[in-house]
Every structure is written in structure tokens, then in C-alpha cells.
């Protein structure tokens, strides 16, 4: 286990370096974008080795304990953000907003017990990977939108550094955030469908309104509400940005909060 944790620490240090550099660059009006991306990729490589070592040792993926779920989500969120950072220039200054959110997860991960959990028989199915994979893309897409929304909100309060202020106008930034939210909506819908298929096979019912299902659906409804609100009232960019933050907070609490209050077999994290 020591080797896994050593690799994990290496990955986290690289993430922290990437985040710190992104924040400093935003404040100091510098543009070390390649270095930030390289540090994120380095962190992902080190983190991947850590996850692979643990997977190999335990015989199952990072799906059971809080430590594993935080670790795998930190990995997937960083991966999705790194891809967006690489492909969409306007997303790059958002690293100064997104990385501090990931710092919170890193801190939580560092204090979580790295002990082992038991893989229940209901988890031994390909639907585990499909359901969780789709969920990770959903949360990652919303995280990218949160980063863009953060820029819009910082600009609205005249707190944006020059790099952020020089980005396209708020309407275009909000449209970009909307694309990521729409992507998130499609992947969350697919996640719910895959989860229903899995639940039907594992527990003999496709939907039973257990706490995790209920809160996942409430998150989906909130996201649907935001998308309709945007069409119906042509939301101001800063209002849309606040709505994006609300969706993210609800999704985050559903992913990492509800499992602690649920007594149903559908736990997420145990």
C-alpha cells in the first residue's frame, strides 16, 4: 500500500503545483499554459499508476470506499478538465477557479482512510463501469462549466484579473458554459439509464427512489430546469453562472454527501 500512496502523493503534488501556478498566473497576468497542462498530465500519470497498483492488489477498481471514490473522481475530474483545457482556449483561465475546488477533494482524500472494502456481488458487472463512467463525464462537464461560470461571476464583481477580463464577452462565455452543461445533461441522463439497467439486474427493480436515486433525479431536474430557464427567460450570463453553481453543488452533494446518510444497498460510497 505504501507504493500506491507514494504515487498518489506524487500525483497530488503535481496537481497542486498546476493549480498554484494557474492561480499565480491569473493574478500576475502570466500565461504558463503549457506548464500548467504538463503538470496536470504529470499528476494524472502518477495518479493512474497509484490507482492501477491498488486495482491490481485488491482485484477491483476504485469503487467501494470513500478513499477510492474520492481518488477516482479526483482523477476523472482532472482528466475531463485537462481535456477541456487542452482543446478550448477560453477554458484555460478557468483553471484558477477549478483547481481550488479540486484542492478541497485532495484535502479530503488525504485524510480519508485508505483501508480496503469488500466488492459486493452486485458490483461484479460491466454496468458498474458504464454507470460510473458516465457519471464521471457528467460531473467533469459540469465542473468545466463551473470554471467558466466563475470567470463570469468574477468579472461581474470586477474581481477578474486581466487574463480573465480579456476573454470573450460574458454572453459567449455563458454560451460555452451552456455547451458543457448540455454535455453534462446528456451524460447524466445516460448515467441514470445505465443505473436503472444495473438496478434491475442487481436488485430486481429499475427505480425505487432510494436516497441516491432520489437526489440524482433531483439533480437531473435542477439541470433540466436551468436549461429550460435559459431558453424561456434568456438569462443574464451572471444569473446563468449562479444557476450552474447551484447545479454543481447539488451534484457534488449527491455524489459525496448522500452516501453517508443512505441506509439503502445503493450506496455509492460505503
Amino acid at each position: 500500500m505504501t507504493a500506491e500512496l507514494t504515487w498518489l502523493w506524487g500525483g497530488v503534488l503535481a496537481y497542486v503545483a498546476a493549480g498554484a501556478l494557474a492561480i499565480v498566473a491569473a493574478v500576475m497576468d502570466r500565461k504558463p499554459e503549457r506548464t500548467v497542462l504538463a503538470l496536470m498530465v504529470l499528476g494524472l500519470i502518477l495518479h493512474t499508476v497509484s490507482i492501477a497498483l491498488r486495482w491490481s492488489r485488491l482485484g477491483h477498481g476504485p469503487f467501494i470506499t470513500l478513499f477510492e471514490i474520492l481518488s477516482s473522481n479526483l482523477w476523472s475530474l482532472t482528466l475531463v478538465f485537462a481535456l477541456a483545457y487542452w482543446r478550448v482556449r477560453a477554458v484555460r483561465p478557468a483553471a484558477a477557479v477549478v483547481m481550488p475546488i479540486l484542492f478541497i477533494m485532495m484535502g479530503w482524500l488525504m485524510v480519508a482512510s485508505p483501508g480496503e472494502g469488500h466488492l459486493p456481488p452486485t458490483y461484479r458487472t460491466v454496468w458498474l463501469y458504464v454507470h460510473i463512467g458516465l457519471g464521471k463525464v457528467f460531473l467533469g462537464s459540469v465542473l468545466v462549466a463551473v470554471g467558466i461560470a466563475g470567470i463570469v461571476l468574477l468579472r461581474a464583481r470586477n474581481l477578474a484579473p486581466a487574463r480573465m477580463a480579456a476573454l470573450p464577452d460574458d454572453r459567449r462565455m455563458e454560451n460555452l458554459a451552456f455547451r458543457f452543461m448540455m454535455l453534462g445533461f446528456i451524460f447524466e441522463t445516460l448515467m441514470l439509464i445505465a443505473g436503472a439497467i444495473w438496478a434491475q439486474r442487481a436488485w430486481g427493480r429499475y427505480w425505487s427512489w432510494d436516497p441516491l436515486e432520489t437526489w440524482s433525479f433531483l439533480t437531473w431536474l435542477t439541470l433540466a430546469f436551468f436549461l429550460h430557464l435559459r431558453v424561456t427567460y434568456r438569462l443574464q450570463p451572471r444569473h446563468a453562472a449562479v444557476a450552474i453553481l447551484v447545479v454543481f453543488v447539488l451534484a457534488f452533494l449527491t455524489f459525496f454527501g448522500v452516501p453517508f446518510i443512505s441506509t439503502a444497498p445503493h450506496k455509492g460510497a460505503v
Binding site: 461484479r124 442487481a202 432520489t214 431536474l221
Partner: protein, 348 residues
């Protein structure tokens, strides 16, 4: 990307104005009503109502489906009115398919609630499921083919990892398919599907003493299901009244060897070394396999110990259609936005 990339549907006022253009200046009341029903503002209200109903059902633990059914019905009406009145659906096929799929989902959920069955059954090893459920809920239009469903529990194995962690369940079952007997192994992720009814093994299982009850009227062979094991390892007792007997019989299983060691891996099985404590009124006896016990009204013969498996039963004929509609909805939505987003680069 422009705001047109979103789902365009006119609000009531816009739709009413469109309806009136080119006709008379007076807009018929039903056109206005349809436009109001089709409005995106109503969609927003329905989503809020749905979320509130859901929160209420969740927090208050409400059993009824009505708090959810009402906003769902309103949603279907809103969608249908939008499809009927909004010309954009005739120009954008993907959007039309998405909305029609949503309507189909709501209708299928309603059909599923009317025809579903959900229940629990317990079947001893070697015995046939006879159509009796220990508990059941069914929709008012459930077709009731359940009495024709039968299978035999041929035996099962459940593995436990150290720390009492339940692992794989493998349950052999057999059933008649016309003149031919078929066999299968069901368990985690693998239900037995007969006439659309799905039988799932559960964590609920236990020991079952096998008795023969002999009276002047004949003899009956059957099992008594003790409470679920190992969940109720320290209360393995049950009371029942044999057919035609005047007094109830209380039995308790006493294990003479431990069935499991919490720290080690083990397999669930009926213990070889055991005895039954039987109490009838004030009288107490101990029975081992092969023992008899004369009671008022008949003689009880204890044959031995077997096990029983608890099954959850599920029936919903709409399942494949519901899945197809959901996939169609998400595919058409993805198609619609893919075309919109592809028209302008993400990094523009």
C-alpha cells in the same frame, strides 16, 4: 453559439400571436388554451412541482404514487401541446423525436404502474414455487398470469468472505417448458424470467426443517421456514399449526456445531449436527432427523433440515419499451445539440 441552440418553444403569448396571424383577429379560446399548455413557462412550473413532490415523498416517506403522477401527467400534456402547436418540431426532426420519446416515457411509466407486480416468495430446496407470494403489490390492470408460473428450487450455494461479507449466490432452478424440463443457474445479476415474471435471489434465506404430518385423513409433507440466517442467527424459532391440529407447535433449531466463523470464508449450508427443540403446550421435546412426536390429532415425523431461498418477483411488461424510449430520447437530444454545436467551433 447563439441562444437558438437551445430548445425553442414559444411562450403562450407568442404562440397565440402566431395562431392569430393570417386568420381572423380573434383567436379561438382553445387555441389560446393549447398555446398556454404548450408554454415553456408551464414546463418550468411542472419541473418545480415535480421536484417539490419528489422532495415531499422522500422526506415524508409517502407511499402513494399520486404526488408524482400528477406533475408527470401535467408534463405529458405540456409536451403533447407543444408538439401539436409548435412548428419548430416539423422543421427539426431530432427535437420532435426527443419530445415524442418523452411523451412515450410518461405513458409507459403510467402503463407500467397499472400492470406491474412486485412481490416476495420463499421456496424450500427441492420444492416447487406454487404461485403463492408472502407479500405482493400489483397494479389494477395486472394480467394475473402468475398462477401459471412454476419452477423448482434445486438448491443453492452462497459464499461468504471473512468478516461476514456475502459473495456470490448460485441457485439451480428447473422448470417445464412445454414437455421439456429446463435448468438454469440464477443469482446475482441473473434472474429467472418466466412468462415475463422475473425471479431474483435475495439475501433473505434460511433453514427449513422438513416434517411429515400423519393424521387419519392422510399425510402431509412440508417445511417450516425459520427466520432468515445469519441475520437472525440467535432467534431460529418458529411457531405454526399443522393441518387439522388442535394446538400450535413451537420449534427452535439448536446447532451443535457452528455454521460459520466470522473471521473465515464459509459457505452457507444446512448444518449436519443439530437438533430441534419442540414445544407443544407445556410439553418440551428434542427431535433429531428420523424422530417422531405424537400430538393431539396426528403424529409429527421430523425428516431433517433443508434450506429455503427468498425471491423477489418483478413484472413490468413495459420495461423494454421504456428502455428503448429513454435511449431514443437521449440519442435524439444528443443528435440535435451535436448539429447545433458542430455549426460553430467550441473555441470561437
Amino acid at each position: 453559439m447563439s441562444a437558438e441552440a437551445s430548445i425553442p418553444r414559444p411562450n403562450a403569448r407568442e404562440a397565440g400571436a402566431h395562431a392569430g396571424r393570417g386568420k381572423s383577429s380573434e383567436v379561438r379560446w382553445w387555441t389560446r388554451a393549447l398555446a398556454a399548455l404548450a408554454s415553456l413557462k408551464l414546463t418550468l412550473a411542472v419541473i418545480i412541482a415535480f421536484a417539490l413532490a419528489l422532495t415531499m415523498v422522500y422526506l415524508l416517506n409517502v407511499e402513494s404514487s399520486w404526488p408524482i403522477a400528477v406533475p408527470l401527467a401535467a408534463f405529458a400534456v405540456n409536451l403533447a401541446a407543444a408538439v401539436a402547436t409548435n412548428g419548430v418540431f416539423r422543421r427539426q426532426t431530432a427535437l420532435l423525436v426527443f419530445h415524442l420519446s418523452l411523451i412515450a416515457i410518461v405513458l409507459l411509466i403510467a402503463a407500467g404502474r397499472l400492470t406491474y407486480l412486485r412481490g416476495e416468495a420463499e421456496v424450500s430446496v427441492g420444492a416447487a414455487f406454487d404461485g403463492r407470494l408472502s407479500s405482493a403489490q400489483a397494479g389494477p390492470l395486472h394480467p394475473g398470469h402468475f398462477s401459471k408460473v412454476s419452477f423448482v428450487n434445486e438448491g443453492y450455494a452462497i459464499e461468504y468472505s471473512p468478516g461476514m461479507k456475502r459473495d456470490d449466490t448460485r441457485n439451480a432452478v428447473s422448470w417445464m417448458d412445454g414437455e421439456q424440463r429446463r435448468q438454469a443457474v440464477i443469482g446475482d445479476q441473473e434472474p429467472l424470467v418466466l412468462r415475463g415474471y422475473r425471479f431474483y435471489t435475495t439475501h433473505n434465506k434460511g433453514f427449513a426443517p422438513v416434517f411429515v404430518w400423519r393424521t387419519d385423513a392422510g399425510s402431509y409433507r412440508g417445511t417450516v421456514h425459520l427466520p432468515s440466517y445469519p441475520g437472525n442467527a440467535y432467534s431460529q424459532a418458529q411457531q405454526w399449526t399443522p393441518p387439522g391440529a388442535a394446538v400450535p407447535v413451537w420449534i427452535m433449531l439448536e446447532l451443535e456445531q457452528p455454521v460459520f466463523d466470522e473471521r473465515a470464508a464459509w459457505t452457507f449450508r444446512a448444518p449436519a449436527e443439530h437438533k430441534l427443540i419442540v414445544r407443544v403446550g407445556e410439553e418440551r421435546r428434542e427431535l433429531r432427523p428420523g424422530d417422531d412426536y405424537a400430538l393431539p390429532g396426528g403424529a409429527l415425523h421430523y425428516q431433517g433440515l433443508t434450506t429455503w431461498m427468498g425471491y423477489s418477483v418483478f413484472y413490468d411488461p413495459t420495461l423494454p419499451w421504456l428502455l428503448a424510449s429513454a435511449l431514443l430520447a437521449v440519442a435524439s437530444l444528443a443528435w440535435h445539440f451535436w448539429r447545433k454545436f458542430a455549426a460553430q467551433p467550441w473555441d470561437a
